[in-house]
Amino acid sequence: MGLNNPATANERDTTSVVSMESPNWVTTRLDFLSNWARSNSLWPMPFGTACCAIEYMATAASRFDIARFGMERQSFSPRQADVFICAGRVPFKLAPVMRRIWDQMPQPKWCISMGACASTGNVFDNYTIVQGIDTIIPVDVYVPGCPPRPEGLIYGIQLLQKKIQGETFTDPMLREEQPLGPSKLFLPPARIDELSEPFGNSVHQTRSSS
């Protein structure tokens, strides 16, 4: 489109004509505008605890470059972050720290669980490892892999962007903080036990070793 004089423009192309006299303006839905802005300027808060963090660094570096998706700024402060990316296994000792960081992030916020350990505990079905960070904080996108390649994480990020673009202000659940209550649990105990159940080869291990 151009800023042609309407008098000289082609009559069949009137929609593309912007008057020289009027200011430039657009109409759009507020949801669309804010989601467009948010999804394209996500600031990640990297929570790298293991080898997934190496792949995350590769994703952030020049070859894969998540700056292309608006994640230019790595936010190492939870208070200026939008996306919590948990890259690596989380021991129970670290669980309260992770929960604190999540609580410190302002709304709106999202979470990507990167890799098998963060999502399920992976092979570390033992006494120290949290069996999936979704027993501690809400997760938006799970990226499978051990560790996922940068392409996998980028795909996860794009899925998150798609999810954000589908959000709406009218959803009352969307910005609801879920602080830990007096039970100190994010999920009901039965749900945590269910999520943490052994799977794959783990089911052949007995609970007792002796």
Binding site: F92, K93, A95, P96, V97, R99, R100, D125, N126, Y127, T128, V130, Q131, T135, I136, L180, S183, K184, L185, F186, P189, A190, I192, D193, L195, S196, Q205, T206, R207, S208, S209, S210
Partner: protein, 206 residues
């Protein structure tokens, strides 16, 4: 492979006699079994005596055998940096009732964290250790000692209970003031922070 016994073993036999229970050579390494109660004397002698000079404590660890009849063993792996020689000293503990040996912190300062780890993983107490706390597991960990053979791989508690205890932990309370590097600024902290820090795991303000 011809197994060469370390000359330190014969010297120990001469010095301590019956306290040296047996000497084994395994994979080229000499292992000296010492009677419980004499281990500190033996280790002090090995460190101080000219010709031995085991001045570096490589590791302190413990062994739990699957057979419940065999008691836990404590292992000291020694190294003489000058002589380029190694020696392993072991002591069998007296069953579940007697899980204590003397700390060697007074001989090698490096024993501090090694002994804390053995205490954390096996529940063996070291008499004379200046600060015997858990080191890997958090200090309110209540499930027991993970490297014992009787410890289930997934722990004693359910996953929900483990998660609840983990989330209920207040990590900041578990650090001492010097670990937080604010000991000198303690007086300038707000009252509520002072109060919270003074309730740390050590239970005292330095």
């Amino acid at each position: 492979m011809t197994a060469a016994v370390s000359p330190s073993a014969a010297a120990l036999r001469e010095e301590f006699g019956e306290a040296v229970e047996r000497v084994v050579v395994s994979c080229g390494d000499t292992i000296v079994y010492v009677t419980l109660g004499r281990e500190h004397d033996v280790l002090a002698w090995l460190k101080a005596t000219p010709g031995q000079e085991f001045n570096y404590l490589t590791d302190v660890t413990a062994v739990d055998y699957r057979d419940p009849e065999i008691p836990l063993e404590v292992v000291w792996q020694l190294r003489s940096l000058g002589r380029k020689a190694d020696l392993r000293v072991k002591t069998s503990l007296g069953g579940a009732a007697q899980l204590e040996v003397r700390s060697v912190y007074d001989l090698w300062k490096g024993a501090d964290w090694l002994e804390r780890e053995v205490y954390d993983m096996f529940g063996i107490r070291f008499a004379g250790h200046p600060d015997l706390r858990r080191i890997l597991m958090w200090e309110t960990y209540a499930e027991g000692y993970p490297l014992r053979k009787s410890f289930p791989l997934r722990g004693h508690f359910s996953r929900a209970e483990q998660t609840r205890q983990a989330l209920a932990a207040n990590p900041e309370a578990h650090y001492s003031l010097e670990e937080l590097s604010i000991a000198e600024a303690y007086g300038e902290l707000p009252k509520d922070v002072q109060e919270r820090l003074s309730r740390g795991e050590r239970g005292e303000v330095r």
